[in-house]
């Protein structure tokens, strides 16, 4: 465990080298909030509630979900793996005495810990700048459930991206697929619009998928909605983590031996 803590600490420190990136990352979180503000301000001018949201409830949802979306940076894992497998330098991770998936999970947690404070600060700034009457649930149990779900959701995304990275051993070129995946993930995690706006049949189907629990349900829970789904959500996302771990184990065993370390 100590070595993974060291990896996380190293990546946390590494972030300090790119201070301008941190600042710009904070500034660019405004894109999603501005989109929501402009779109929903026009829509709510004619209606008081939409899909169970008031204007400020909707913006609170976007503040929370964009905070989580901003923290979820695991897409870098699959991109890093794909690039290194293609150019033959993935050996760097194979030769060190750590579990490769653990290495990437520790790396991700170091980066997330670093950005946690800055993204939190950015969320505060946007709340004041846009004059949002922020809605946050007061029930401690619901908050705990939402945070647990976010952690599990982030872990699932690390697993998913690690799994996709492994597929590079077999398919060699997966960058196009990764970009398509990023577009779809933005939709199914509810970071563009709340999934509550979709028809009930689609939402019911999405409840079986893990993405529903990555940012959408935690954000809804924290804005005081869908409380009845909290415990079930934790169980479902935990099950998905177990399934994904099994898939990783099988894929790793099968495909890692294809790596010749010379690049394509």
């Amino acid at each position: 465990m100590r070595k993974y803590r060291e990896i996380a600490r190293t990546y946390l420190k590494t972030q300090l080298a790119w201070r301008a990136d941190v600042l710009f990352n904070m500034v660019f979180t405004v894109g999603r909030i501005l989109f929501a503000y402009l779109l929903w301000k026009v829509i709510f001018a004619e209606k008081d509630t939409i899909g169970g949201f008031t204007f400020h409830g909707m913006l609170s949802y976007y503040i929370i979900s964009s905070f989580f979306t901003q923290l979820e940076m695991s897409h870098g894992i699959s991109e890093e793996m794909a690039a290194r497998i293609r150019n033959g330098t993935f050996s760097k991770y194979i030769v060190i005495p750590v579990n490769v998936e653990g290495y990437f999970a520790a790396m991700e947690s170091g980066v997330v810990l670093f950005y946690l404070f800055f993204d939190f600060a950015a969320a505060f700034i946007w709340i004041f700048l846009f004059g949002i009457e922020f809605t946050l649930v007061k029930d401690g149990m619901i908050i705990a459930c939402a945070l647990a779900m976010v952690l599990l959701g982030m872990f699932f995304m690390v697993q998913l991206n690690f799994f996709l990275g492994i597929l590079t051993f077999k398919y060699e070129e997966i960058n196009t697929f990764l970009m398509i995946k990023n577009n779809l993930i933005a939709l199914v995690t509810g970071s563009i619009v709340p999934l509550a706006l979709f028809p009930d049949t689609i939402v019911s189907f999405m409840r079986f998928l893990p993405f529903y629990y990555v940012t959408y349900l935690p954000s809804m829970l924290l804005t005081g909605k869908c409380a009845g789904e909290a415990v079930r959500g934790i169980i479902v996302i935990s099950c998905w983590c177990i399934v994904m771990q099994a898939a990783i184990r099988i894929a790793w065993k099968r495909y890692v031996r294809r790596f010749d370390g010379v690049g394509i």
């Binding site: 660019f28 402009l38 577009n183 933005a186 939709l187 706006l197």
Partner: protein
């Protein structure tokens, strides 16, 4: 002119030869951007299931907006995006020397040497979205309206191109422009999702005049649905004219400032 046409023909031929060598990912840009616009359609279908109008536009007009943005983006991807996008790297590495010393316009060659036929299906997909939008909005299609729409699409493609050149010409003056490109993509993403009709106040000034991504698909759609006022026409023509001037000044200034490798 004839020389330039011959150069363009040769660039297209070379590009096809290159693409035949690297067939993997030939249709990559189509699938990536196609998925982006399909997601857009799904998002606005979900929103319109709960509201009737957004900024005065009904569902059909919004589909037309998405289709038009997709069409402008598709033309950009097919013709000049990959060429223009490589400008900062060429300035940084000094590779720009090769373009300046050739007896052909460096910007012409840079813009057209990486045409991407793999994105052609994206144009077809955009046209399908536009036809669907026109059907949904129950538009009466007349030749004059279609010609005016095509005129605005071509003009907005030019504006799109100029914005890309402006952002990338900054590389002549600064060491890194990664953040400028991030700003460009953030603005594009925002305006791809929001029609110009929802902007007001300071946002309207920013996205109509300073970073005019807000008018790129809005004006063609307005012309198609008959909402194009003389003020809109004058404003759009003025913006394109001013940005053409800015692009020329920046590019020429940049070339003068260029000191080969490490500039």
């Amino acid at each position: 002119m004839r020389k330039n046409i011959n150069v363009i023909k040769e660039l297209v031929r070379l590009r096809f030869q290159h693409l035949m060598m690297f067939r993997i990912g030939f249709f990559g840009p189509f699938f990536v951007d196609g998925s982006l616009f399909v997601v857009q359609l799904m998002v606005f279908s979900a929103v319109y299931a709960n509201v009737e109008r957004i900024g005065g536009w009904e569902h059909g007009q919004m589909i037309l907006y998405i289709g038009t943005f997709s069409l402008i983006n598709a033309i950009n991807m097919v013709v000049y995006f990959f060429g223009v996008n490589s400008i900062p790297a060429k300035i940084k590495s000094g590779e720009m020397d090769l373009y300046l010393t050739k007896p052909v316009s460096p910007l012409l060659r840079l813009s057209l040497e990486h045409i991407n036929p793999g994105s052609l299906p994206l144009i077809l997909m955009s046209l399908v979205i536009i036809v669907y939008g026109a059907w949904e909005a129950e538009l009466r299609i007349e030749t004059g309206i279609v010609l005016s729409y095509l005129f605005w699409v071509v003009l907005m493609c030019i504006l799109y191109y100029e914005m890309e050149i402006i952002f990338r010409s900054i590389s002549f003056f600064l060491i890194s422009t990664a953040k400028m490109e991030q700003l460009e993509s953030a603005c594009l993403e925002l305006c791809m999702q929001l029609p110009g009709t929802v902007f007001y106040g300071v946002y309207k000034v920013v996205f109509y005049c300073i970073l005019p991504y807000g008018i790129m698909a809005t004006v063609p759609v307005k012309s198609l649905v008959g909402e194009c006022t003389p003020a809109t026409v004058l404003h759009a023509l003025a913006v394109v004219g001013i940005f053409t001037g800015i692009t020329c000044v920046l590019w020429r200034g940049g070339i003068r400032c260029y000191n080969s490798a490490s500039s």
